[in-house]
């Protein structure tokens, strides 16, 4: 890219406001060079600086005795016992996935994997939380097809099982799908690698793939200076190479078994710039880079291009000088590039040289400390009035068929069948088998439970309740397999933060999440913020996606959701018949209305603790939390899971049947147990409401009053949508 004269207009093109550019001038004491301006613009971008969200994120609780590293590192780290730590994080690749669904999703998976293995953890599981436009929108199919292929294409090839996730559809995501990828890894708890550089004189080493002109600063793409010739060289969509990533994982883990690494950081957004600036900044040292040494894929790359390239599958390390050869041998064995591209200094500055010229020379402290931080105005989020009575237009069985077959509730087998979920040989609960995926830790009885959750329609109606609900549901899904919930990662997907109503949604969601995290002892240890998810001025539904992690001491104690014949069904929790924002209301009554179900955090905790205790005591054969679609959908999913029918008792006296069976009250679980009476007694002594629901038997789901529907018919309705829609 040809250098251009640095002017306030160019700064604006690079996404810096006049005030921000003024700050750049003050820090530099002169007009910055083209490359320097590029460095400031990416470091101070929303993506790297969290300038709109930082003030709010601080409100999230991040500590607990088992938290080893909270937010601020490449990923969160928690103690899972046996001298091991789980390392995990979730990250969005929303915009790239709309432009190029396959590569956008694939590189999203690649990026989050690097965040985890850069800390010394072997990745053991991937999850993906996906939101798409309405299925009737002609664009949606192509996006779904590409995203699912991309997630699978990358994860399957690197050999990390994809064990869970979620899929939602809503018109608000039509021009703005959400692809949130989560990776979980395991490391010895005393062998965690961090990114703070140390040791003046130590070599700065680049490993992985070569650098090309991939994904360079979006702002400059619109530059009027582009002509036909540069058009060909135009910053391009990043293409992922999972094969190289697999080699990079093996090479890094092999090197991490030695004592060669002082600090390590993946090159993610803003590539070499953010990795070198952050490593040096965190370690309070200076750094010198010689770009002539950077492995390059294309000819004639400029300093600007190399500093801003987002080529995939690259890492930056600081090594002990006497271990450089050991490291080089390992990377050469794995056929990866290895190059010493600089060294640490004591100047507190980043100095970038290329072809004999100093292309950038910036003091690191002010670059970090004077980064913009905005207290953007927030508008209060209005609450919807309570729903009045809503009559049942359909009857229970037709409503059940509609719900269990609708895009938001139907079987996701079409999706997860494209993801290798068994590789590693440790997957105890695969997708669809339980409320959380369960992955055993190789060589032990211990296991991790993993889930992602968010109900965006609740968040849109009441962001605070929605944020709370998302955290509570993640906690509930972990409890429902018998795991002890430990911590979450989050992915805050919102619209334009410059609009007060969007910032209001953000702030309220954080408030709700923070309250739930505190009440459930479920801190946030990592996360990601994705703003400006808008097309033509219309924002997405506020979507604070939550990735939850829990631990089981003995994988053999976990339960799935499949019914078995002869068991009693018990509902734990209270059914008030809450229809506001329920799927029944939307799919059956045709309304999106009312406030979402309130979250009673004390009840969540009490009910979940009881359920977990019962599971670990071996008194529960199957368990499923009650979420989207309500009680009858929950029971139907359990029946389909075990291929056994159930006979249900009457709704309690005084309740309205369709409200009872389809309401979406929180803090509830359905248990399948051998001895319901004993469970009811246990619940009573714990102060937890519980009631008998029915019994698992036969080949039909039989509702009170004797109406019944065969499992075969239910299954056909449940499994129809995806294959029919995608044409195979």
């Amino acid at each position: 890219m040809t250098k251009r004269e640095v002017t306030p207009a160019l700064a604006r093109e690079f996404g810096l406001s006049a005030e921000e550019y003024g700050r750049v001038l003050a820090i530099m004491g002169r007009t910055p060079s083209f490359t320097e301006l590029g460095i400031f613009s990416v470091m101070w971008s929303e993506h790297c600086s969290y300038k709109s969200s930082r003030v709010w994120l601080k409100q999230l609780p991040t500590a607990a005795p088992w938290v080893i590293h909270g937010p601020g590192e490449n990923a969160g780290v928690v103690d899972i016992g046996d001298g091991l730590a789980a390392v995990f994080k979730m990250e969005s690749h929303n915009h790239p996935s709309f432009i190029e669904p396959y590569q956008g999703a694939a590189t999203g998976v690649g990026g989050i994997l690097r965040d985890v293995f850069t800390m010394g953890a072997r990745p053991v599981a991937n999850l993906n939380a996906l939101r798409f436009g309405h299925p009737d929108d002609p664009r949606t199919r192509r996006v779904v097809d590409g995203v699912v292929r991309g997630v699978g294409g990358y994860g399957n090839c690197v050999g990390v099982p994809t064990v869970g996730g979620e899929v939602n559809f809503h018109p608000a995501y039509s021009g703005n799908p959400l692809v949130n990828a989560m990776t979980v890894g395991i490391a010895p708890r005393d062998r965690i690698f961090l990114s703070a550089a140390a040791g003046v004189g130590n070599p700065v080493v680049y490993v992985g793939s070569k650098t090309g002109r991939d994904g360079i600063h979006g702002a400059t793409m619109a530059s009027a200076e582009f002509d036909a010739a540069t058009e060909e060289k135009r910053p391009t969509v990043q293409v992922g190479d999972p094969y190289t990533e697999k080699l990079l994982i093996e090479a890094c883990l092999e090197l991490m078994a030695t004592d060669a690494i002082v600090a390590i950081q993946d090159m993610g957004a803003a590539g070499l710039t953010s990795s070198s600036v952050e490593m040096a900044g965190k370690g309070s040292v200076g750094i010198e880079l010689d770009l002539d040494q950077v492995p390059q894929r294309e000819a004639e790359m400029t300093a600007y291009e190399m500093m801003l390239s987002e080529s995939q599958e690259r890492m930056l390390m600081v090594l002990r000088p006497d271990r450089q050869d050991v490291a080089r041998a390992i990377f050469e064995k794995w056929e990866l590039d290895f190059a010493v591209i600089g060294r640490l200094t004591d100047t507190g500055r980043i100095v970038v040289r290329h072809r004999g010229a100093v292309e950038a020379d910036i003091a690191l402290d002010p670059l970090a400390e004077q980064a913009p931080l905005y207290h953007r105005p927030t508008a209060d989020t209005s609450k919807l009035p309570l729903l009045g009575e809503v009559a049942d237009p359909a009857g229970l069985v037709p409503a059940l068929l509609t719900l269990i077959g609708c895009p938001d509730l139907c079987s996701r087998a079409w999706v997860w069948n494209q993801y290798d979920s068994t590789i590693g040989g440790q997957t105890v609960q695969r997708p669809g088998g339980a409320d959380a995926a369960v992955v055993r830790i190789e060589g032990s009885r211990r296991a991790l439970a993993l889930t992602t959750d968010c109900t965006p329609r609740y968040c849109a109606a009441d962001p605070e309740a929605g944020g709370m609900q998302a955290v509570a549901e993640a906690w509930r899904n972990l409890s429902a397999v018998g795991a002890r919930p430990l911590a979450i990662t989050d992915n805050m997907n919102f619209g334009n933060p410059e609009k007060p109503e969007i910032m209001g949604q953000f702030a309220a969601s954080i408030r709700g999440m923070a309250a739930a995290c505190r009440a459930l002892d479920f801190p946030v240890v990592s996360g990601n913020v994705s703003l400006y998810n808008e097309t033509d001025g219309r924002g997405i539904l506020p979507t604070p996606a939550i990735g939850g992690l829990g631990v089981l001491e003995d994988a053999g104690q976990c339960v799935g959701l499949a019914l078995r014949p002869g068991l009693d069904l018990v509902l734990v929790g209270t059914a008030s018949g809450w229809l506001g924002q329920s799927l029944w209301l939307r799919e059956v009554a045709g309304r999106e209305d009312g406030p979402p179900p309130p979250v009673d955090l004390a009840a969540e905790r009490r009910n979940g603790d009881l359920v977990r205790e019962l599971i670990l005591a071996g008194r529960v054969r199957a368990c499923h939390d009650v979420s989207d679609g309500g009680l009858l959908v929950t029971v139907a999913e359990m029946a389909l899971g075990g291929d056994v029918g159930a006979t249900l008792l009457d709704a309690p006296a005084g309740s309205v049947p369709h409200c009872f069976w389809f309401g979406e009250d929180q803090a509830r679980y359905v248990l399948a147990v051998a001895d319901a009476d004993a469970i009811l007694i246990a619940a009573e002594s714990a102060g937890v409401p519980a009631q008998r629901l029915g019994r698992a038997e036969g080949t039909h789901l039989t509702l009170p009053g004797g109406v019944s529907i065969s499992l075969a018919e239910l299954r056909a309705a449940h499994e129809r949508f995806f294959p029919a829609w995608m044409g195979s």
Binding site: R149, G153, G159, Q418
Partner: protein, 230 residues
């Protein structure tokens, strides 16, 4: 049984295979790097699943031409036993150690799901712990498992009893509905004429522990451990 597990760049199910071999034989297999050519002392060589060399160009194509394959060819010629699973099967076919080729799944999608396999030959070192006609469950995870050979080759293979495993319904019926990837004659696993080289697409190694939902795959490894006990 002394087993070697070959690791190509991009192989990713070597740990799964090692776990299954150890569960069955009590012995840790030796990991053999793709550049090695020394296989002396081994009773069994396993080529595990994965995406060797990214599976770029064609699945298994580049791995089939790597140095270790010459050694494996000699090892097989000298009567050694070789098992290729998934990518390993693709590599053996690309190397010409087994007939035919593995094409894209008929659905053109990666398929990760359980399938059922009917045992067509129970008199080999690999399958001796199953009964003839027995059906067992196995996970599968591949994009290119659609077995192809020309009709004459298929007829010859059937005649010589070289089909080891077929996709079937849980009840053992070999029907199109139970053929997940479009394989010719529902073929899931085949043998070399001397019965000492076997390739199969599914992953019995991922079903050897009740915690993972069953032990249907264990007899494969137990059978080899018994037959090849040194």
């Amino acid at each position: 049984m002394k087993a070697g597990v070959v690791v190509f760049p991009g192989t990713n199910r070597e740990r799964d295979i090692a776990i299954a071999l150890q569960a069955a034989s009590g012995r840790r297999p030796r990991m053999v790097w793709h550049g090695e050519t020394e296989l002396a002392g081994l009773d069994l060589v396993v080529l595990p699943g994965g995406f060797s060399h990214g599976d770029y160009l064609r699945c298994g194509a580049m791995a089939a031409r790597s140095p270790v394959m010459g050694a494996i060819r000699d090892f097989a010629a000298a009567g050694g036993h070789v098992l290729g699973v998934c990518n390993g099967f693709q590599i053996l076919a690309e190397a010409g150690l087994l007939p035919g080729a593995l094409l894209r799944n008929a659905s053109l999608r990666f398929l990760s799901q359980d399938c059922h396999l009917r045992v067509e030959r129970a008199d080999t070192a690999f399958t001796r712990h199953y009964q003839p006609g027995q059906v067992f469950r196995a996970p599968m995870a591949h994009g290119d498992g659609n077995y192809f050979a020309d009709p004459a080759t298929l007829d010859r293979m059937e005649g010589e009893g070289l089909v080891a495993l077929r996709y079937a319904s849980p009840e053992g019926a070999v029907v199109p509905e139970a053929n997940p990837n479009g394989s010719a004659r529902s073929i899931a696993g085949i043998l070399s004429p001397n019965g000492r080289v076997m390739g199969l697409m599914p992953h019995p190694e991922d079903l050897v522990d009740p915690l993972m939902g069953g032990t249907d795959g264990l007899p494969l490894f137990a059978g080899m451990a018994e037959a090849l006990a040194a």
